[in-house]
Amino acid sequence: MKIEGRIWVLGDDIDTDIIIPTEYLALKSIEDMKKFAFSPLRPELAGSIRPGDIIVAGKNFGCGSSREQAPEIIKSLQVSCVIAKSFARIFYRNAINNGLLLIENAQLPDVATEGENITVSIGEFAEYQGVRYELSPLPRNLMEIIEAGGLVAAMRKRNGLE
């Protein structure tokens, strides 16, 4: 499957407090929270992201808290995937569970320029400015969760609700 999108570029160690600061965690819904995404670092970003955009980041994206609102908000902003050098582990699982596609690649984040476009052939390669970067596929059990549309959908199916 192929996806294409405009990229936003962030640095290393983007932590969950940047993705959604604690002071907004008692707001009622993801809808209420998402306008504050990335506010300590890039206050304009949440309002500028368009459906289908892609986030490219350095190492250790999503480090910090287990707040699942972090990937859930990114998903609700309709970001199609996050490409980073590496992901923090709780964020990683939470993202998969929310059907947010995560792609690890060590070279792309070093060359990416904000505003440019990138094409991703999931599990195979990413193409940027005419160069192809090889991607490793996710483990099968994780792809199953993403393909099911996330863990809630998978559990609903298990409980005979779909």
Binding site: D13, D15, D17, I18, P21, T22, E23, L25, A26, L27, K28, P40, L41, K59, N60, C63, G64, S65, S66, R67, E68, Q69, P71, S86, A88, R89, I90, R93, N94, N97, N98, P139, N141, G150, L151, V152, M155, R156, N159, G160, L161
Partner: protein
Amino acid sequence: MGYTSIEKIINNNLKTDLVRANDIVTVNVDRVMIHDIFIPFVADKFEEMGFTKIWDPDKVVLIYDHLVPTSRVEDVRHFQIGDTFAAKYGIKNVHRSDGICHQLMTEAGYVKPGDIVFGTDSHTTTYGSVGAFSSGVGYTEMAAILGTGQLWVKVPETIKVIIDGKLPENVMSKDIILRLIGDLGTDGANYKALEFTGSTVANMSTASCMTIANMAVEAGAKAAIFTPDEKTAFYCSVSLNDVPEISGDEDADYIEEIHYWAEDLVPVMACPSSVDKIKPVTELLGTPIDQVFIGSCTNGRLEDLEIAARILADKKVADYVKLIVTPASREVYKQAAKNGIIEALTKAGAIITHPGCGLCCGRSGGILSEGERVVATNNRNFLGRMGPPSVEIYLSSPAVAASTALAGHIALPEL
């Protein structure tokens, strides 16, 4: 080939001996911890998933700590949802104001050596201090565990950390973990288990081990693990016979071994705004500060308050500096009151707040203003954590924090 501690715990859990690092397995969960800040989302996802009952309500612990006491009108909604959920699904283990989740889980006896425990908080790694495999998960996975009692896990590889020798007087376990995170980097232990051993570790109190296990996640670790011993058995109120044999084998497959001589360690701090930006306190001496916070699941225990009281006894916090002390639980507060610690700290000018997450989670409890600087004993100093991005947060041990409060600037503990 021998087994690492994590491999042993998981093998015991699955009653096999075949499990090795990198295997993907489904474990049986012994206990879960859910706290106030995320219970509304857990409850939502649980019902959205179509579950009608919790696999074993007695294995669930619901703890209110991030929002205690309330600081905004919307906070009570979390308690209302939590109370309703607990009543509906038969959860009896509910703690509404007893203290911080990670303090209570071991203090109140919910975690035993060898257990597999998950919590809706990244610092769930804390219970590795009593020999449990414990890790943080998101609210969706917590909902799935509530319904199934199980979770898939990729068995982490293990980094062995050996610390031998006797710590200098002014060096605490906080300095050890900060040093390690500085050496590994914030992702240096990504997806790994950190197994702690050595003579220094063997002689450490459970409380000191908790400080180290608590911050393992700041190096990206999935879990921290300490070998349970008599001290652990006593702390967890189990007999030594009931403590499983889970010490890492000499010939187990460790992907890395890191060794420290305790005598070489010095008091350090994590500088703004990353936990791995470690510098010796000697390089930061004299940096003026506006506030000091002693508390959190990292360093809010009796031994932490005790050393602060020792440093501040019969002295006064520097003029125009605020010292906020938040004991990690009611039990700790009561013990500290009994031991004269609370009196000593109050007379020195400390502001003692009710046990809870307090300033650490950044919703209230001592938020700072543009350009101010705080020294704190918690586990994170991310941008914007305790006020606007210009607020500088330095992480340290309670000894360094207390000495800093006394001096009004970053200072070395003299003990």
